[in-house]
Symmetry: C2
Subunit: 480 residues, 2 copies
């Protein structure tokens, strides 16, 4: 039996102590596939309730440090899990940086050549002439006042009305998620996310040790019946959602579901975090519908980033907050990085007031719409029998695909990289590494020629992969 002494007088709950001790033991002493003691046996040996052991085992399983086999117990996971985490990181990095000599279907960030550098350079120099040293001093933690005013006006033009005091400037949408997590989440607090969803959000929630429940996406939004069934038994702090061209599915929530969601939030008393990075990129006649517009009860925390339609390296985003959260958010922003960069805030304000943002977004919309059409056409032409587009997207920067036959998208990914193509394997967007035969193809950083070549490469490796897999099965199944 393992030697584990818990301290009843410690600051940590018993199951956390147990989790930490087991984790330590596993990582230092135990070999892969070692069977762990049965729950009741360990509980008796350590002198705790069986429920305490269950919780500790669950935490370890969530982190893929152990795995469970139905009917036979829990086992130490092979350490290759660490390699997988490393791979995940490498892939995330691929999303972040431009790879040399490759076709990048992973990055959902517009390529550099689309940025309005000359206009923004002009804005920077105008601001430096005007503000001199003030542009480099600490800004107020809530943000540069003139920028808060100009973005308030911009939001109003989009149909979202807010009081000036409700607007907080932050250093990008990821910081918004981080700061909101800081004020809302304590150890073990429950939240709901969409399934699949954005990995960076999961990281921030995990960092606060939240208990995360994911609800499957459907064509018109998340499965709200499943959500209500969960809400009846669990009290959550918030639901994290992307209402327009959701990452990675591209789903646009229907107005009916938006209303239902707002009603649920009121009935079960939780907040909704709406992360809006793509609502500007609709390829139909009509603008898509933002949840915050219909938020009568002040339950929606609205995060707006222009990183996907403007310039991500600015690290600038905005939150519209319910009034009762203002003071806490301001304190959290201060404790996080005091304030966002001054020059950037001032130059973006200048750019916004000059009416340049809308024009730039319209250009981007037209450009991305063309790429969207080309990618759909190429997939139909080359891979119609191999993949299906899971949801009928009409905007955004990517398509969410499913292989018709089962494939191992991790392997497929490695083969693609070898041929100079990167994309985002489906499991990157899941809490439990689901969506093994899904992938997200983004057309943000590729031109039409690259789209065509990329789809060709995908076709080649798919055919090759299917072939290889068959062969492998034969080779390793000598009995049949």
């Amino acid at each position: 039996m393992l030697d584990l002494n818990l301290d009843a007088a410690s600051n940590s709950a018993l199951y956390i102590q147990l989790y930490k001790k087991l984790k330590n033991k596993i990582q230092n002493d135990l070999e892969a596939n070692t069977k762990l003691p049965p729950i009741r046996k360990l509980a008796t040996a350590v002198g705790v309730n069986p429920a305490t052991v269950v919780k500790a085992y669950d935490m370890l399983a969530n982190e893929e440090i152990i795995y469970k086999k139905v009917g036979s117990g829990s086992f130490v996971a092979p350490t290759k899990k660490i390699v997988e985490t490393k791979n995940r990181h490498d892939m995330l990095k691929h999303g972040q940086i431009k790879l040399a000599e490759s076709i990048n279907f992973a990055s959902a960030t517009p390529s550099n050549d689309l940025f309005p550098v000359a206009d923004f350079k002009y804005a920077i120099n105008q601001v430096l002439e005007r503000d001199q040293g003030e542009a480099f001093s600490y800004q107020k933690s809530q943000g540069f006042l003139a920028l808060r005013k100009s973005i308030q006006k911009y939001f109003a033009q989009q149909g979202i009305n807010s009081a000036l005091k409700q607007i907080q400037v932050v250093s990008g949408a990821q910081q918004a998620i981080d700061i909101i997590s800081k004020i809302m989440l304590d150890y073990g607090d429950q939240i709901i996310v969409e399934d699949p969803t954005y990995f960076g959000a999961l990281q921030a929630f995990n960092s606060r040790k939240a208990a995360i429940k994911s609800i499957k996406m459907e064509q018109d939004g998340a499965d709200l019946e499943a959500m209500e069934a969960y809400l009846k038994k669990n009290r959550i702090k918030f639901f994290f959602t992307m209402q327009n061209f959701q990452n990675p599915t591209g789903v646009n929530w229907s107005q009916a579901k938006q209303q239902q969601l707002l009603d649920l939030a009121e009935k079960y008393d939780f907040y909704i975090i709406e992360d809006d990075i793509l609502s500007d990129l609709y390829y139909t006649a009509e603008k898509s519908s933002i949840l915050k517009e219909y938020d009568k009860q002040d339950r929606v925390i609205y995060i707006k980033s222009f990183s996907k339609v403007f310039m991500p390296g600015l690290r600038l985003a905005f939150i519209i907050l319910p009034e009762r959260l203002l003071a806490q958010i301001l304190e959290a922003k201060y404790a996080t990085d005091i304030s966002s960069g001054g020059l950037t805030q001032r130059a973006f304000d200048y750019y916004l007031r000059a009416g340049l943002l809308d024009k730039h977004i319209e250009l981007q919309r037209n450009l991305f719409k063309k790429r969207f059409e080309i990618m759909k056409a190429e997939l139909k032409k080359e891979l119609a029998e191999a993949v299906e587009i899971v949801f009928p997207t009409k905007g955004g920067l990517y398509l969410w695909l499913k292989f018709v036959k089962n494939v191992d998208s991790k392997k497929l990914y490695q083969q693609a990289v070898a041929k100079g193509l990167v994309f985002s394997p489906g499991y990157l967007f899941s809490l439990n590494s689901d969506f093994g035969n899904h992938l997200r193809l983004s057309f943000a950083a590729v031109d039409s020629q690259e789209i065509k070549r990329g789809v060709q490469i995908l076709k080649e490796i798919y055919l090759n992969h299917a072939h290889l897999n068959q062969k492998t099965e034969q080779e390793y199944s000598p009995l049949i």
Copy 2:
């Protein structure tokens, strides 16, 4: 008796549940100065160990939600505590922004007119010509490579050698503290800070619910005997320290104590976070000694910010990390804000390579030295009988003063504000609102004329305050 049901199967430890329920009860139902149930009585009623109640009461007392009277128990604190928190915020803001028509002894940030705007504007435009759109794309989470190289070289010139991979770029020192807290601190983990210390650090540690112990500052560094006594009984994650011209005391750690501290870290297995914002501002012949230079065992996490000698609005700082923390820090940085602003990193790199930073810092050092001398001379001339400089500082941006007689520095602060003078009352730098008759006077944002006028105003309100206090005592003591 209070009605409090705890849930043994909950995710939270019992004392945390109890703390939350009591807090809720107090804030919603109980009046100020209501006596809370005695520890043993409440423990029996709720069905928990008395130690659980003690912990919950301690947490409430730390947050000033209740107060204790020796021998008579615990009581609900008056809600004016909330007003005090608000005041604290207002004061912090005064530290952050330049007040119109006032003398600012609160701000430790150089005033805007000292920034090298023209040089930096040149650097920005050169970089934009060179890098175009790339300057506005996502940067790598670890930071712009060329900047990491140039800062590595800069550190080496200062005597601090590090491998390139050990250097992480962050958006200011506050973010460094926040990110390090994220990877090192779990609920209830113990740490040690200097007493008094920087309030923003306490905020970040509190946000991770750390158990914070503070150790008194002495003339040559913290009281290491007290620290070792504590370390013998407690396991800490790290010690947070400013080794040069500590905020707010101005103390410079002696080399003897630096060595002792490193030995303690090795003996009791903890990290040291060295927050270096002021080591460049020494007013003696010799440069002050940075702990990281002597860190043979890789136990020091070194944070370097130039916000006090360059331009704080850039939001840029650097961490030199022990190798074993690199991967975690990178993940935490990603989850916090993905990366720091690209243009800023590139322009600072350009500025650094042009050799302009050292020249600028030398100018600043000469300027601040003069202000330092003037402030000391004025205090000696005008207030020698009222205040003493607690530690014999020889660098930095402020003096830590103690009133010889007991005064209420909060009241004094309000009277000063009415006369157009702001400073930092001592309790801002304390975990437990100690240092009531201390204050920090900064000379970063004031010229020599303002220093003279400011000290005059301080003298006036001090004399007036002493006078008022005597009168008040007479009025409210009718029995004597």
